[in-house]
């Protein structure tokens, strides 16, 4: 079973705009830089826009192979013109993302480190619009943001614009590095996963966290029987379960009736897949109310 983080980074799961949300406790830059190393293998040129770190600091430790395929631009070195002593207003946001024009057939990717600093100078609505526009020029783009500096409405607005969001969790004790992913496929299907990751040399090793968690949960849940010490019986015998399954509920009857009248006109069936969470006792539990 493919791990979502790996699928997004490797490109098997197509994602045009990815948001990485980190915090003071879990720095997203190491992952971002490793993503860059994966991107240069698939794209002709990767544009990197820096708002905080200097170029030298950012490229330190990158191989010659990677350096040849990236174009780095450091912005906001004098955002409001204090160094030239003028009341300069910040550049138009789109101008910040101006890189040298590549050859016509080049495939391009973009990395931005990071949006939090841009949000000091620009309205988030303008930023969202710019990200949408940039989506036409780049096959894929990755944006880092410090979510602990971000107000909820800004965070939500960015989530709408992005095709995938990766939020890093703070690590507790010896726990593995965790991130929660939300990926929107072009078909409209939304995939959610929690993955663990580790960076080893130039590779990212990812695993699903949920599965392990489920196993742990089931192990924990086996010995707990809430019906064990009750003064009345809540358990059903096999026979009772069979009897219950034979009861025809009003809505199933309705379906059968309509099925009879439309005999031969085709049948729509829905097969549950791994993402669907069908719980008859609470059919609305997947709604975010």
């Amino acid at each position: 079973m493919a791990v979502l983080l790996k699928s997004i980074i490797s490109g098997t799961e197509e994602s045009s705009k990815v948001l990485l949300e980190d915090s003071t406790e879990h720095n997203g830059r190491p992952l971002l830089r490793n993503i860059l190393i994966q991107l240069v293998k698939r794209y002709d040129i990767v544009h990197v826009l820096l708002t905080d770190l200097s170029k030298d600091t950012w490229i330190g430790g990158l191989s010659e192979f990677v350096l040849k395929r990236i174009i780095i631009s450091q912005c906001l070195t004098d955002p409001v013109g204090w160094n030239i002593k003028s009341d300069k207003s910040p550049d138009i946001l789109m101008n910040i993302f101006r890189f040298p024009k590549p050859a016509m057939s080049s495939s391009l990717a973009l990395i931005v480190d990071n949006l939090s600093t841009l949000l000091i100078y620009y309205e988030y609505t303008e930023l969202c619009r710019t990200i949408q526009t940039l989506g036409k020029s780049y096959s894929t783009s990755y944006y880092l943001i410090h979510h602990d500096l971000c107000e909820d409405h800004i965070s939500n607005g960015l989530h709408h614009v992005m095709s995938s969001t990766i939020r890093m969790f703070p690590r507790r004790n010896d726990q593995k590095l965790l991130c929660s992913l939300c990926h929107k496929r072009k078909s409209g299907k939304i995939l959610r996963e929690i993955n663990t990751y580790a960076i080893e040399n130039e590779d990212i090793i990812c695993h699903k966290y949920e599965e392990k968690n489920k196993i742990e949960k089931s192990v924990e849940q086996v010995p707990i029987d809430p019906t064990a010490n009750l003064t009345f019986d809540l358990r059903l015998t096999e026979r009772q379960k069979q009897d219950r399954s034979r009861v025809i509920l009003p809505y199933t009857q309705q379906i059968n009736k309509s099925g009879e009248t439309q005999m031969g006109s085709g049948l729509v069936t829905y097969e549950l897949d791994e993402v669907d969470d069908w719980d008859e006792s609470d059919p609305d539990d997947d709604l975010d109310i």
Binding site: T24, H26, N27, P30, D52, L53, S54, N83, H146, L149
Partner: protein, 264 residues
């Protein structure tokens, strides 16, 4: 202190942004340590103070065996004032330009080392700092210390302007115009001040070394005055290297020990 900060050489803090923050427990000792240590290490120090006088820093520095009055060739002091009682000082500062000589209650052997900045824009404060650093460093490494930057929020500077100001200071550090940047800020966890929290978080993201002091969760103790957490942050380190110690302020120094190992 050097052991706590894992400091082996005087150049260890070159190019570093050091953040000192406190929550319920003052971080004064750590601030004064950096002021005195920078002068001992032969840095040109520019100290921007919002609420303390020069005499206060001089008195504390003397406990660290540093004479601030005698170090004026490499020590620049900028006092930020927003109080009406300082109007005379402000007027004189304006008459003699911001970096001109000043006759005030703050006496120094070299009066030109004293500046007063009153209710002006952060842009002018930045220009003043930049001018002081570039004109007085004379080839020596320079260190800027601001005590305390969160108070600027209280005197009417917006959070946006303050973050832009910090961004410019960090740019000075990146272009090597400044060798070391030390900012002190304050945020109490139990007070809902969103701007102070935002400032602290922003500064934490940008810092290389973060010293945070807080009171004991169990309440006031006569023998243990608080905890200090040292976070070593690097741009490509996934998580900061953190260790927490407890401390007790003494008359002229501080006693730092591992948690639960108070000798009293």
């Amino acid at each position: 202190m050097d052991a706590l900060l894992d400091r082996k050489d005087k150049d260890d803090f070159l190019g570093q942004f050091i953040l000192i923050s406190d929550d319920q427990s003052p971080s004064d000792y750590f601030l004064h340590y950096f002021i005195s240590q920078s002068i001992k290490d032969d840095y040109t120090v520019c100290l921007v103070s919002v609420n303390q006088s020069f005499d206060h820093y001089a008195a504390v520095a003397s406990k660290f065996s540093v004479n601030l009055r005698a170090s004026c060739s490499c020590f620049k002091f900028v006092k930020i004032s927003s109080y009406s009682t300082d109007t005379d000082v402000a007027t004189q500062a304006k008459q003699t330009e911001v970096s001109g000589p000043l006759d005030s209650t703050d006496t120094m052997t070299d009066q030109s080392s004293f500046c007063c900045y009153v209710e002006r824009s952060v842009q002018e404060l930045y220009e003043l700092i930049k001018k002081l650093i570039t004109t007085s460093s004379a080839g020596k490494p320079s260190c800027l210390i601001i005590d305390d930057i969160s108070v600027l929020l209280s005197i009417g500077i917006s959070i946006k302007d303050l973050l832009i100001f910090v961004k410019y200071l960090i740019n000075l550090l990146q272009t090597k115009a400044l060798s070391s940047l030390i900012l002190r800020t304050h945020h109490d966890d139990d007070v809902e001040d969103e701007e102070e929290r935002l400032l602290l978080t922003y500064l934490t993201h940008q810092s290389h070394l973060h010293l945070h002091t807080n009171g004991l969760k169990t309440g006031y103790s006569r023998d243990v005055h608080g905890e200090v957490t040292v976070e070593r942050r690097r741009p490509f380190l996934i998580q900061p290297q953190t260790h927490t110690m407890q401390y007790r302020n003494l008359d002229r120094s501080i006693n730092i020990f591992s948690k639960g190992l108070s000798q009293v």
